[in-house]
Structures are given as structure tokens and as C-alpha cells.
């Protein structure tokens, strides 16, 4: 049964004392100036936790959760805070567990291609630790230099190479969890495929609403023998998107296929100097991997499709340095755009790939309607759009228009047969839009799954489920009532 919290604000000093005695004062932050740092993530949302804790062990996490439950205070987990849907924000206040200090790689098993890591390990550090053995961790969000694996698991993160290798869920073998009552549980199996329900698959991508993840067994992937990175340059956006459609239709699945439109690539080029021609309308960054023979013939076939769609030029990176530079341009694009406006709103929608030309035209029209130049830098190969709206958060009217434009674009994705989010998660950004896709029956079932593990909404309340549908929790926390509203 949902509970109503009425213990008032500010946070119960006894809880804070309890946390300090559990973890030591150095691992607990409760001063306003500290809390302010944790009221943001990569999204446009904002919500302030009431106390921040830094556990070092699974036992710490379990004790924190038990203590919070005793005081009926919600708990939210957080990795590096790079998430883009408000998943790691304390929408109802309460205790924020930051996993930054649980950042050890516990084991590497080259023979079975597994690594056991703590949730605070940075995504790229897994690859760095295993690349000597010719292995890597395949999911590669653009924030992989800073985002943590715990956050990746919670959000089922993607990245450019998801096109060939799948999302985070395809690379997780087992999890250790702390449940909302503080119990420690294990799901999945190290060598895969244990009989039983795929609980591991359920918890990955559940956005911290079912359990906290305290240890992760990841699957490692063997590096391909050959990689070819192509940059195809176009004078018309339509030609670039038609190239993607034709590639898919011909059954060519590259390892990655990214698009940057002209406006975006100019901003990137000014900042990164990746070699994107400033006068072009769009570029495709396409990577193929595999055996030498396969990579070469695929690259050849792709170049042919680009040329038949009027590519101005198709370049192939000659060495790792050139390849890294092209990818640096892609991965740092959002940073580059940060130079153009005080803030940007990175959207995340999915469409069937064949609808790419139409979708880009409609995004352009939406931008015009709301008075924004909307840039596009996205995973074209799997139809995962990332339109970027630049805005000034101090201008309330402009912010509201940005939100409205975003909603129109997401609705357009759904109307084309697509989905709300390809890799950023629902969080508190799109929970109200969930009704575009799901029926009451769908919500009922999801709610029953939620309540099977997190019956009191003690973990990450106010996420995924639309609050307007009566699916939300009845928890009310006085001090947190104002939190969780958009800026």
C-alpha cells in the first residue's frame, strides 16, 4: 500500500545523524551548497535531494536503504549524473546514493569474456582495463568518458555502436541488487542462460525504479580484426537520409552510422576541427567492422550507395588518428553546441528508419514554428533521432517553447510508428508522454511489476509512470513538493 509521508521538512536530523554514523561524516553531505550540485543531471529537469551519501560497499547501500525505509524517505541512485531524462534526480527529495566511490573493477575473466565491476566504474574504464586482451565493453554512450556503468544499466544506455552490438542489456550477464527493503539479491548468471525468468533483463533499463544495482557482471566483446571509418559529405540533407534508407533496405548494417546536419557540423568544426567541411549540408559518419575481407567489401558497397545518392565526397580514415578525430567530432558535438547558447535540450526519439527523410523535414518545420534552429546529430542507422534545441533557461517563455517543440517532435516520432526514447530513458522527462504508447492495461501490468519489487515507491519515485494517470505514487513529502517541476 502506498504511504503518505508527513514527517515534514527539512529532512529528519535523526536520519542524517544515522547516515553519518553508518558511513562516517565524510560520506554524507547535507549542506544546501552541496545539495545544489546534485539537483541537476544532463536533462532540463531539476530536483533537489535532501541528503547525499557515498557508500563504499554493498553492505553500506543495504544499510542506507534500510535506514531510509525506517524514516519513510525515498532513495534515488546516481552515477555520474550525465543522464538525459532526469533518471538520477531526486524528484521527491530524500536520500541520494551517489555510487562514485564504488568504482572498482573486481574481476576480469578473459577466458569467459566477463568482468565484474562496481556501479561507479566509468564506462570507458572497463574497455581500458581489458583492451590488452583484445576485448572491449561494447555499449558506448557519447558520454562514455564520464558516465558510469551503474547508470548505463539503469537506463539501458545505447551509443553509436548499438546499431551492430545492441544496447546495454545485451551486454549484461548478472547483477547484484539492493532491494527497497535493504535485502541483497542476485539475478542473472555469469555464464548466461540460467533457467528461469530473465530477471536480469527486467532490471536493466528499469531506471532505478525496482532496485539499486551494486555489482554488475558485464559481457566483453572481442575487437574486430578490421575497422573502416567513412565520412560521406552531402550538399542536401535529403540525400544523406536517403542514403541511410537505401543502406538499410539493402541489408547493410554497419557497426555505426551517425548523421550530423550542416548547422551542427559547423558548430562542431569550429570547436573540434574534425575535418567536417563547413559548407556541406550533412555528413554521415559510417563505420564497418569485421574480417578484413568483409569490412572492405562493405565499405565499398556503402561508398557506392553514398555516391549514387549524390554524395559530394566519401573519405576513408587512413589511420587511427584520423578515425579518432572524426569520432571526437561526433562525441563532443553536444559540448560544441554548448558554446552557442546558454543551454541545450537534447531530445531522444526513435522512428522506423525508412521514415528518416520525412522525420527530418518535420523536425525542421517544428523548429520554424516555435522559432528555433534545431540541430540534428544522431544515430541514423537505427532511426534514433537526437534533435537539439538551443535555448536560454533564464527566458521562461523560450524555455516553455523549447519544451513544446520537444513534445511535438516526440509525438511526431510516435505517429510515424516510432517510440518515445531510444536510449536516454523515460525518467521524469517523458513520463507524461507514456500515454502516447501505452494503454491502461499496459500501465496496470507495469505498475504490478513495479509494485512487486518496489511497493512503496521508496526507490526513485515519480519516474517512468505518468503522474497524471493516477499511476503515480501517493507519497507526499512537504519539502519536496516544489522539487521536480521543470525550470
Amino acid at each position: 500500500m502506498p504511504r503518505t509521508i508527513t514527517d515534514g521538512s527539512p529532512m529528519n536530523p535523526a536520519l542524517i545523524r544515522g547516515l553519518k554514523s553508518l558511513l562516517g561524516p565524510a560520506n554524507v553531505l547535507s549542506q544546501t551548497e552541496d545539495l545544489l550540485l546534485y539537483e541537476f543531471d544532463g536533462s532540463v529537469e531539476k530536483a533537489r535531494p535532501e541528503v547525499i551519501v557515498f557508500p563504499h560497499t554493498t553492505q553500506d547501500v543495504s544499510r542506507i536503504v534500510k535506514l531510509a525505509a525506517k524514516y519513510q524517505v525515498p532513495v534515488v541512485g546516481r552515477g555520474a549524473g550525465t543522464g538525459l531524462s532526469g533518471g538520477a534526480l531526486a524528484r521527491r527529495g530524500g536520500v541520494m546514493i551517489v555510487f562514485a566511490r564504488m568504482n572498482r573493477i573486481l574481476e576480469i575473466d578473459v577466458e569467459n569474456r566477463r568482468a565484474v565491476v562496481q556501479p561507479g566504474v566509468v564506462n570507458l574504464d572497463i574497455t581500458r582495463a581489458v583492451e590488452h586482451a583484445g576485448l572491449y565493453f561494447a555499449p558506448d554512450p557519447s558520454s562514455q568518458k564520464s558516465c558510469t556503468i551503474g547508470g548505463n544499466v539503469a537506463e539501458n544506455s545505447g551509443g553509436p555502436h548499438t546499431l551492430a552490438y545492441g544496447l546495454t542489456t545485451n551486454h549484461i550477464a548478472a547483477l547484484e541488487l539492493v532491494m527497497p527493503d535493504g535485502e541483497i539479491a542476485r539475478v542473472g548468471s555469469r555464464h548466461g542462460d540460467a533457467p528461469g525468468y530473465d530477471l536480469c533483463g527486467l532490471f536493466v533499463g528499469s531506471e532505478g525504479t525496482l532496485a539499486l544495482v551494486t555489482e554488475i557482471t558485464v559481457k566483453l566483446t572481442r575487437k574486430a580484426e578490421a575497422v573502416k571509418t567513412l565520412l560521406a559529405i552531402f550538399d542536401e540533407v535529403g540525400d544523406a537520409s536517403r542514403t541511410v534508407v537505401e543502406m538499410t533496405a539493402q541489408g547493410i548494417t554497419p557497426a555505426a552510422c551517425e548523421m550530423l546536419d550542416g548547422w551542427t557540423l559547423r558548430a562542431v568544426e569550429d570547436y573540434i576541427h574534425a575535418g567536417f567541411p563547413r559548407d556541406s549540408a550533412a555528413v554521415l559518419l559510417i563505420e564497418v567492422e569485421g574480417l578484413r575481407e568483409a569490412a572492405e567489401s562493405q565499405a565499398g558497397a556503402i561508398a557506392e550507395i553514398c555516391n549514387s545518392n549524390r554524395a559530394r565526397e566519401v573519405r576513408t580514415a587512413r589511420d587511427d588518428r584520423e578515425r579518432d578525430l572524426l569520432w571526437k567530432g561526433r562525441r563532443n558535438a553536444f559540448g560544441a553546441l554548448g558554446r552557442l547558447a546558454p543551454s541545450n535540450y537534447v531530445l531522444d526519439g526513435v522512428i522506423p528508419r525508412s521514415k528518416l527523410p520525412e522525420a527530418l523535414e518535420r523536425i525542421h518545420a517544428t523548429g520554424k514554428k516555435f522559432g528555433f534552429q534545431i540541430g540534428n546529430i544522431f544515430h541514423a542507422g537505427d532511426g534514433n533521432l537526437h534533435p537539439i534545441v538551443l535555448y536560454d533557461p533564464r527566458d521562461t517563455g523560450q524555455f516553455k517553447r523549447a519544451i513544446a517543440a520537444a513534445e511535438e517532435i516526440i509525438r511526431m516520432c510516435v505517429s510515424l510508428g516510432g517510440s518515445l526514447t531510444g536510449e536516454h530513458g523515460v525518467g521524469m522527462e517523458k513520463n507524461e508522454l507514456m500515454t502516447l504508447l501505452f494503454s491502461d492495461a499496459d500501465f496496470d501490468l507495469m505498475r504490478r511489476i513495479h509494485d512487486a519489487f518496489n511497493p512503496d515507491s521508496a526507490l526513485n519515485p515519480g519516474k517512468i509512470f505518468p503522474l497524471s494517470k493516477g499511476c503515480g505514487e501517493i507519497r507526499v513529502h512537504k519539502s519536496a513538493q516544489s522539487a521536480g517541476t521543470r525550470r
Binding site: 577466458e111 530473465d198 527486467l202 538499410t248 569485421g290 528508419r353 504508447l437 501505452f438 499496459d442 519489487f453
Partner: protein, 459 residues
């Protein structure tokens, strides 16, 4: 249960008399381990499935959804079984977008029919499972049975992008979508895979499709001992060469495979009943096929294979089909057979093979095959159904279960006589996460009407 006498009549009222069968013959066709349902229903639509499930909830009837009924023996026999849902009338392709490499089809559609439709567009679904010729999409997914192509394409979990199903409250639900990348909401469609119909009745499945490979090839090496065969198998896995399948097997498996091949298509000559064999299957362009063949030849010479040969494309295809159906023909290769599926860490799989290749218990032969994805199939064969043979089978399966547990693996009894399954169970050990699984079951099927008792831990 309320007034079972008039159950068929009441069901006829619900869905029409042409959708209900209750003759003894019809009921026996749907029997599981000798237990027949009270009625067989053949719904025409997902909505009708929902109506039937609502009826079952109201009347407290246990429901088992069936496709082609080729794998009904998987899992434990259900504790309750009142209604059989014959899903084969739901067989439409709802959407097929070749340009998007996605397809959405009804659960009762046979795999081979979908294969034809996709093949016309030079695409396919890498769900290469036993009973491929008869299996329905829903059955292939709900059984969770291995695809022989999983080394290259993964399991259904890797290409199922959405599903529609009726939950245990009689509501039509959906999860995922029709796009290849999607993280909206809980991944409930993936949860349905391999659940033997205990969470819901699958009505529609959305998949990503794949381009058909240009060419196929295969290569067969024979070794006189297990060790070099395992080394060779392991070296191929580490080589980075893309194999669609890699099978290592013993002489008995080879003999059974050859016998089956001769029945269906003609076995390669060197598929003799001696030594340890490694078959590598691969696909790609001419250049890729040539490269892999060359490397296989060199590697098998280096590892001192007793014999090594390239297999032509036609034989390769027929060999792959035999591996695909292995669970089917292994189960029928002797009067009394137990087929176990074992997952172990790579290093430990060899231990099981070694154990089997050692002293054979009397009255029993065993066949062993290790697949690249780390799954081993152990088949125990007895030439009689007598008590003595049963007792030995029981002892051997129990011993394998405990050995697998010691090695931190898992074992599932895929095929066995009802006698044996009743005594040893189907799964090697109790799961530590059983309670969490029960919570999932409770959420999906709060009245416990879907195939009760058929799944792990009595779920």
C-alpha cells in the same frame, strides 16, 4: 471449478461452436504427459484470446497456450490443465517493412511460412530452432529453445523488439514496439522468452530481420582425442573469425548425426563414428568464405587433426539443418533417451565431456555435443525402457546435475520419459532468485491460471 459438465457449451457460447473442440480425440491431441485438457479452443483474434482468459479467470480454469505442440514436453507437466488454446488461427503478418528490417507477426504463424515471406525479400529471422518446419513463432519464443545460429545472431532476446500478449487478468497488453532501438518502459516482451507460457498468452511478436547471407560454408575436422579437439574449438572461438555455429562432438553423437543425415540428406563421408569432431559453419561473401576455409585448414593442420575437409555449400546447409533439429532427432534415437542442456564456464565444459568419454555405465550410451555459445548437449541413450535402464538413467542424470552445480553451471532436462522427469525434475538446482521469479509470476498472472507448475521452481 463450477459446473464442468457444461463447460464446452458455455465456451461455445463465448467464442462460437466452431472454435471449441471437446471430443476425446481432440483432447488427446493436446495432452501433455498423458494429461488431456477439458476443452480445446481456437481463438481467431487477440481479443478473443483475452475473452477466453477472462472467462478462465472467472471460472478458475488453468490455460495452456499451444502452437504446433512440438515442444509441449518441455518443463514439468502442468499441475492444472483445463483449457488448451490452439493459437494456430492467429497467423497474419501485421507489418512487414523490408526497408526497415522489421516484421510484426501473429504468434500462431509457422516459422517456415515467415521464412518464405522474408526470403522473398532476401531476409530472414535467425530463429533456427528444433522443429523449425512445424514450430510457430509464439512457440519458438515461449519455449526459449536454442537457435543454432546464436553464436552469430544471438538469442530471441537480441532480436525481439516488441510483443503483444494477454496477461493473467485477461487484458491485452504490449511491450516494446516496432523499432530496432527502444528503451520505453519495462522490457516485458523479453521477459516472455522461455517462460513456457506461464506469464501470458503471446499474441503477436515484433522482430528485427536480417539479410540472408550470400553464401554458406562448413568445415569438418576429426581428432583422435578430446583434448586437441577442445583446443581447436577454443582456438577458433578466440580467432575472431565469424562462425554461425561451432559444434564439437563425440563419436556417438557423430554416429547418430550420420544416421539422421542419411535419412534426410546424405552425410559427408568423413562423418564417421570415431574420434572427436569439430564442425564449423560460417557464412558471408566469396572472399570471406575463402578466407575462413583457408584459416580452418591451416589451423586444423597445426593442431594435428587426423582428418580435415571443407564441406560444400549444399552439404553445409543440410548439416546445419541437422544441428538445428538435434533436440528432435536425439530424443528419438533410442527407445529410452534423456537429453540434457548444460551451460558451463568454457573451461569446465571439457570436464563434462571427459567424464562422459570415460567409463560407460552398463545399458547406457552417451552422446556429447558442445556448441560455441557455451551450451553443451548431453544425450543418454538406453536401448530398453526396463526398470534397470531407468534406474541407471536416473542415477546418471542426478550425477550430471550435481556435477554441473559444482561447476557453477546449470542443467535442464529437455527430453526424458515422464517417469524420469517425475523423479529427477527438469532443472538441476533450486534458484536463489526463485522468490523474485514468483513475484513476477504473481504480477503477470495473479490468479495462477497460466500453465501452473510447468516452470522452474514449480511456478
Amino acid at each position: 471449478m463450477s459446473s464442468t459438465v457444461s463447460l464446452p457449451t458455455r465456451l461455445e457460447k463465448l467464442v462460437g461452436s466452431d472454435r471449441v473442440r471437446a471430443s476425446e480425440t481432440a483432447l488427446q491431441e493436446f495432452a501433455i504427459s498423458g494429461r488431456a485438457p477439458l476443452a480445446v479452443l481456437k481463438p481467431r483474434s487477440a481479443e478473443e484470446v483475452a475473452e477466453i482468459v477472462s472467462f478462465a479467470v472467472a471460472e478458475n480454469l488453468a490455460v495452456v497456450a499451444c502452437g504446433s505442440r512440438s515442444k509441449l514436453e518441455l518443463g514439468m507437466p502442468p499441475r492444472g490443465y483445463d483449457l488448451a488454446l490452439d493459437m494456430t488461427a492467429l497467423r497474419q503478418i501485421a507489418h512487414y517493412d523490408p526497408g526497415d528490417l522489421t516484421v510484426s507477426a501473429d504468434a500462431g504463424l509457422p516459422l517456415h511460412e515467415l521464412e518464405g515471406v522474408l526470403g522473398a525479400k532476401n531476409q530472414f529471422l535467425p530463429l533456427a530452432v528444433p522443429f523449425f518446419e512445424t514450430s510457430t513463432l509464439g512457440g519458438a519464443v515461449a519455449s526459449g529453445i536454442d537457435s543454432v545460429l546464436r553464436q552469430q545472431y544471438g538469442t530471441a532476446r537480441d532480436f525481439l523488439v516488441g510483443a503483444e500478449f494477454v496477461d493473467g487478468t485477461g487484458k491485452l497488453c504490449k511491450s516494446g514496439g516496432r523499432v530496432v532501438k527502444n528503451v520505453t518502459g519495462y522490457d516485458l516482451h523479453k521477459l516472455l522468452i522461455g517462460t513456457l507460457g506461464t506469464l501470458g498468452v503471446i499474441t503477436r511478436l515484433n522482430f528485427r530481420t536480417f539479410p540472408l547471407p550470400e553464401l554458406r560454408g562448413a568445415h569438418l575436422s576429426t581428432f583422435t582425442a578430446l583434448e586437441p579437439a577442445l583446443d581447436f574449438h577454443a582456438s577458433l572461438l578466440k580467432s575472431g573469425l565469424p562462425f554461425s555455429n561451432l559444434e564439437l562432438f563425440d563419436a556417438e553423437f557423430s554416429a547418430l548425426l550420420a544416421a539422421w543425415q542419411n535419412k534426410t540428406g546424405g552425410a559427408p563421408k568423413s562423418l564417421s563414428a570415431d574420434g572427436w569432431k569439430v564442425v564449423a559453419c560460417f557464412e558471408g561473401s566469396t572472399a570471406v568464405i575463402e578466407r575462413i576455409r583457408r584459416e580452418l585448414q591451416e589451423r586444423s593442420e597445426r593442431t594435428k587433426a587426423a582428418h580435415s575437409e571443407n564441406i560444400d555449400a549444399r552439404s553445409a546447409q543440410s548439416l546445419e539443418a541437422s544441428f538445428r533439429g538435434a533436440f528432435h532427432w536425439l530424443g528419438r534415437s533410442a527407445p529410452n533417451v534423456a537429453v540434457l542442456r548444460i551451460v558451463l564456464p568454457r573451461a569446465a565444459s571439457g570436464d563434462v565431456a571427459e567424464l562422459l568419454s570415460g567409463s560407460q555405465p552398463p545399458l547406457l550410451r552417451s552422446a556429447f555435443a558442445l556448441r560455441a555459445c557455451g551450451v553443451a548437449y548431453v544425450t543418454l541413450l538406453a536401448d530398453e525402457e526396463a526398470d534397470a535402464a531407468n534406474a541407471i538413467l536416473q542415477r546418471e542424470v542426478t550425477r550430471l546435475f550435481s556435477q554441473v552445480e559444482e561447476n557453477k553451471g546449470s542443467a535442464t532436462l529437455l527430453h526424458a520419459s515422464p517417469w524420469l522427469r517425475e523423479r529427477v525434475g527438469v532443472w538441476s538446482a533450486k534458484r536463489a532468485d526463485l522468490q523474485m521469479m514468483q513475484r513476477v509470476k504473481q504480477a503477470f498472472d495473479p490468479h495462477n491460471i497460466f500453465a501452473p507448475g510447468r516452470f522452474v521452481g514449480g511456478i
